[in-house]
């Protein structure tokens, strides 16, 4: 088969050129690694903010934080975790894995890829720099008129930082789409693409069309704050509800941006560790596309209590999203059903994801019920929902993916025992931290407040939640130790340590520059499986489990 006319990775001449290499690299794998490490650093920063808040909330009364600092922290915690951790992490995993999975040599626009990454630390400096300028104590949703009347210049830094991160996401989305549409290897038809590629495709479409709308809103807010504009100021003829429309038109597709790549990661792992093909490949693709499309029809379910939106429409479409999401759950369960489950850490995390994301998803269906939503608006029930979908959802999938692809990225397998310790700490910690929030929210405890009355009986549940938060923090320590010791050890994982299916396992670990010296023939969505089991692919194609057979471009 084809080879690239490029020599293998050259040795580094000196320490300075090693630094320069990482600063100027356009290799999608190195950029992916930069994304992942930056995002993990931000995960720690955002986590420390969460610990500070949970420490304050462990007991009624003010012991640890001032109210203003608390407001700054909960705002910055959300912004950090969403824009500086989960999004760059998913982009990083996609950057590393997607070109490998479609048999490409790199992303379509390598230099734009590098630009997209370097906008992230720039945005992070602006956003975290807000702490030096009075912070941005307005929540990650930045609602007008609060954002317009709060003088702190940290808010302006936050707005500018988000514009940079938005630009990064748009450039990344363009790059992913061009890569997926144009750089697939011969034989890699759309309906043979691995599920991570499909979810990255749909995520990129969401980013491409949702992110610019946020940018327009951020610009309007910036003009209102700094140049006397009146977009969201009723005294000048503007409309504060307009901000909510613009923000959530971005904000709801954004939550699928955070979770669809997680679906993709889990869908890569479940078949490999069940020793079966993914059940219902086509249904899964259709469900992913449906979730993406429906994501643009439900933004106002975040605005039920404004009284300014047509409730039945947005409620109905919110319920409708449960259908394709339910399809995915059945895909995963049916894939595992009757399979030879191999409970290595990636599958543990994937199963943890399936179990706990279900709780978060059901919370979402609860919140689609208009009267229920009116009751729990702005309470800890919503906080619980968001954390069950983002921690038990995105974070579990991220760790599943990191354990799964670490051998491909570095050549060394992470320690399984430490991985399992980490999983159980995180699994227990997540539930202890976030389940009590359901009960607190139903009981009326409002979010974004530094204190609560001692006579409401909320102290015990809050203490429990704080203990859970520290368990989550503790779970990160074995992971850091695991990465540290693994990287110091031998890189002997081999090309295909999990006996997996997709193309990234057909090259070396880590892959060379431009990825493949030789590509196997691609006749199904499991080319590496076909390579290892030449007889089985025929039966597999005949069973119709994949899309093998017909070339559909």
């Amino acid at each position: 088969m084809a080879t690239t006319a490029i020599p293998q990775a050259r040795p580094y001449a000196s320490r300075r050129s090693w630094v320069l290499e990482w600063l100027t690299t356009t290799d999608h794998k190195k950029i992916g690694a930069l994304y992942i490490t930056t995002a993990f650093g931000m995960f720690l920063v955002g986590g420390i903010m969460a610990l500070a808040m949970r420490t304050e909330l462990a007991q009624p009364g003010l012991q640890f934080l001032t109210p203003d600092l608390y407001d700054q922290l909960f705002s910055m915690h959300a912004v950090t975790m969403i824009f500086l951790f989960v999004m760059p992490m998913m982009t990083g995993v996609g950057n590393f894995i997607v070109p490998l999975q479609i048999g490409a040599a790199d992303m379509a626009f390598p230099r734009i890829n590098a630009l997209g990454f370097w906008l992230v630390p720039a945005g992070a400096v602006l956003i975290l720099g807000a702490f030096a300028f009075g912070g941005a104590p307005v929540g990650w949703t930045m609602y007008a008129p609060l954002t317009e009347t709060t003088p702190a210049h940290g808010i302006d830094l936050l707005l500018m930082g988000l514009v940079l991160l938005g630009s990064s996401s748009i450039l990344g989305a363009i790059n992913f789409l061009a890569t997926i549409f144009k750089l697939r290897a011969p034989g890699m038809t759309l309906m043979r693409m691995p599920m991570l590629v499909w979810t990255t495709l749909v995520t990129s479409v969401l980013l491409l069309f949702a992110m610019p709308v946020l940018t327009s809103g951020l610009v309007m807010l910036f003009i209102d704050r700094n140049y006397g504009g009146g977009f969201f100021d009723p005294s000048l003829g503007g409309n504060p509800i307009l901000w909510q429309h613009v923000f959530w038109f971005f904000g709801h597709p954004e939550v699928y941006v955070l979770i669809l790549p997680a679906f993709g990661i889990v869908s890569e792992i479940v078949p490999v560790f069940s020793r079966k093909p993914l059940f219902g490949y086509k249904a899964f693709v259709l469900a992913t596309a449906s979730i993406g499309a429906l994501g643009f029809t439900v933004w106002a379910h975040h605005m039920f209590t404004t009284g300014a939106v047509y409730l039945p429409f947005f409620s109905f479409f919110t319920f409708l999203i449960a259908v394709p999401t339910g399809v995915k759950f059945f895909n995963w369960l049916a894939t595992m059903w009757g399979g030879q489950l191999k409970f290595d850490t990636p599958l543990l995390y994937a199963v943890g994801f399936i179990a706990l994301f279900l709780i978060g998803g059901l919370d979402g269906a609860f919140l689609a019920v208009v009267p229920f939503d009116f009751m729990v608006q702005d309470t800890y029930f919503v906080v619980s929902h968001i954390h069950y979908v983002l921690v038990a959802g995105s974070v579990f999938a991220i760790f599943a993916g990191l354990f799964y692809w670490f051998p491909k990225m570095t050549g060394a397998k992470l320690n399984e025992r430490l991985g399992k310790i980490q999983f159980w700490l995180l699994f227990i910690g997540t539930n202890v931290a976030f389940f009590p929030m359901h009960l607190l929210g139903l009981d009326g405890m409002v979010r974004r407040v530094v204190d609560y009355a001692p006579n409401n009986g909320w102290a015990d549940l809050n203490l429990l939640s704080t203990i859970g938060a520290f368990l989550i923090a503790a779970s990160v320590l074995p992971f850091i130790w695991n990465v540290f010791t693994t990287l110091r050890g031998p890189r002997d994982a081999g090309d295909d340590p999990w006996d997996a299916n997709t193309l990234e396992w057909a090259t070396t670990s880590p892959p060379p520059v431009f990825n493949f010296d030789e590509l196997p023939a691609i006749r199904s969505e499991r080319p590496v499986f076909d390579l290892k089991h030449p007889g089985a692919s025929v039966a597999h194609a005949a069973a119709g489990a994949g899309a093998a057979g017909k070339d559909t471009h």
Binding site: A105, K182, R184, V213, S216, D224, F231, L236, N239
Partner: protein, 212 residues
């Protein structure tokens, strides 16, 4: 297939091929042009946000346009600027058709004309702003109408400026003879962007001066 017949890939180029020799990159739309089309898609959504703001506020306002801004008229400056921008789309398309026919001199002439027209549009916009600011004391802080007017036309102007920069770059490259009948994807991409900026202006002109 051997190394010799597969496409050479080098890092640091604008776009890479798969290196498979035969790939999806060889068929259909050029990868770089696809990138520009996707970027234009995101720009449509950016202006969509601004237009949504305009129509949301227009729909909830008791009187529209607000009283006392009857000096916002399409005659004379805006209509002249519109004619100039529309002509620049024609000259851009002409430049593209020239290089597609292998005529490098025609490309340079077409781009030069487009560049001058684009700069003229920006000059007229500045002139229009100057008149509104000095004669009518109408600024971005003049209540919601001023905010909308300057934000929407200002961001459009910024995009025209971006197009002018793009045209300047391909004009310089054209002078160095970098384009041919077969290889001129950068001209196609800038041309697509320039037409997009023109379409946004038509929507803006219609919204601000005709629908009111």
């Amino acid at each position: 297939m051997t190394a010799s017949d597969s496409a050479l890939v080098t890092h640091g180029e604008d776009a890479v091929t798969t290196g498979h020799g035969m790939s999806h990159a060889d068929r259909g739309i050029d990868t770089a042009l696809l990138g520009m089309m996707l970027f234009i898609g995101s720009e449509v959504m950016f202006f969509g946000g601004l237009f949504a703001a305009y129509f949301n506020i227009r729909a909830t306002a008791p009187i529209w346009p607000p009283e006392g801004i009857d000096f916002i008229q399409f005659f004379p400056v805006p209509i002249i600027a519109t004619a100039i921008l529309l002509s620049s789309s024609v000259s851009m398309q002409w430049a593209l058709s020239r290089i597609a026919a292998g005529d490098r001199t025609g490309l340079i002439r077409g781009l030069a004309v487009t560049l001058v027209l684009g700069l003229t549009f920006l000059g007229l916009q500045a002139f229009d702003y100057y008149g509104l600011l000095t004669d009518h004391h109408f600024g971005i802080d003049s209540a919601i109408y001023g905010t909308l007017f300057y934000t929407m036309t200002g961001f459009h102007g910024a995009h025209v400026f971006g197009g002018v920069v793009g045209i300047s770059v391909i004009l310089l490259r054209a002078k160095q003879g970098q384009f041919s009948a077969k290889h001129h994807v950068a001209v196609e991409a800038v041309s697509a962007y320039w037409h997009f900026v023109d379409v946004v202006w038509i929507a803006l002109f219609t919204t601000i001066y005709l629908l009111k």
